[in-house]
């Protein structure tokens, strides 16, 4: 590697092909106010590119929960319905029943889906509602500044678990994909992570499979995406990906959990002490 610095303020004058545009086609701009190192815009890319690549742009409707990612909706060149905190699966249900040939996805955080709206998503899955629910899981309420959610891992420090989440006081984390995958109405369930480039690529594969499952009318699909929240985790921005992989990823295991209606992986019940040690920063 040489230390020669190249100009990077403009494209090559000739002899080159653009292989990656600043933003996905279905994105209206690039300006957003989410924190440095946030994983949610990466998840947004996987969603928007999957819709575009499947040729579903003019047939897609998003139903958006409430969290940091809500601010991203102004970037989305999609017909959208803004839901209340936790209620996106119900809204998507009613809308999908009226327009069964459209692609519907919900976008929800862990506070939205696993705390406030847990019942909603479980029932939508059990009903086999032909929608795709996308969970952006960073284990904290990012928008309020880093508070414990139902997916916060044991030992994780948040503003209301300053000594780390302790099972005796705060209970155990809910692993959403593990919970939803076994339900009869769930056709596809997967958990990806955007902590590195290969994770982003794999997550996009999951997103496409979930959308394809829905368009084939096979039932409920869930894609959980682990996203960095260095602000809410109180870790240096550049350490976000590593923290995600080692701490959250150890509890919320990535991979496909159900495909073509077949369970692929079982959940390992975790021992509190081990996890606390693992999660302690």
């Amino acid at each position: 590697m040489s230390d020669e610095v190249l100009r990077s303020d403009r494209p090559p004058e000739s002899g080159a092909t653009r292989t990656g545009e600043f933003k996905p086609t279905l994105q209206l701009g690039t300006d957003h106010d989410l924190c440095a190192g946030c994983g949610e815009p990466l998840a947004l890319r996987t969603i928007l590119e999957s819709i575009e690549e499947l040729g579903l742009a003019q047939r897609t409707i998003g139903v958006i929960g409430i969290g940091c990612y809500t601010a991203l909706t102004s970037l989305m060149d999609l017909d959208l319905i803004q839901a209340l905190h936790g209620r996106a699966p119900s809204l998507a249900t009613g809308a999908k029943r009226m327009l069964p040939d459209r692609l519907f996805f919900t976008l929800q955080g862990d506070g939205d889906m696993a705390n406030e709206g847990l019942q909603e998503v479980i029932h939508a899955a059990a009903r086999g509602e032909n929608i795709t629910c996308v969970l952006l899981n960073n284990g904290v309420f990012g928008e309020t500044g880093g508070h414990m959610t139902a997916t916060t891992v044991l030992g994780q420090r948040t503003k209301n678990t300053l000594e780390g989440r302790d099972a005796t006081q705060h209970g155990y984390p809910i692993q959403m994909v593990d919970l939803l995958a076994p339900l009869g109405g769930t056709a596809y369930a997967a958990r990806g992570s955007v902590h590195d480039a290969s994770g982003v690529v794999k997550t996009k594969v999951m997103m496409r499979r979930a959308f394809e499952t829905q368009m084939r009318g096979e039932g409920f699909s869930i894609v959980e995406i682990l996203t960095m929240c260095p602000t809410g985790w109180f870790v240096p921005t550049a350490k976000g990906p590593g923290y995600l992989n080692e701490v959250l990823g150890a509890v919320h295991v990535t991979g496909e959990w159900k495909r073509d209606g077949r369970l692929l992986r079982g959940a390992e019940p975790e021992a509190p002490n081990e996890a606390k040690e693992r999660g302690a920063v």
């Binding site: 590697m1 100009r7 990077s8 303020d9 090559p12 292989t19 982003v200 921005t237």
Partner: protein, 81 residues
Amino acid sequence: MSQRGHVVIDIERCKGCELCIPACPPQVLRMTGEHNRIGAHYPELLSGCTGCRACWLVCPDFCFEVWQFDEPGAPGARPGE
């Protein structure tokens, strides 16, 4: 060093998270000491880019545009030099 790829960096959008630095397989991105209008340091491009898009995939602020040269090492492959 021959260039197979090139990135355009929208430095004014950069928030300085540095996620692109470890993500770059040929390690041709480096944080500058300069800062942009919001006060964030931003990456600069060194020679040796392969156009692999790893930076583009992990950038939360959509700062990267990626190009592949039709013929690596061609004269056009040294933009702005």
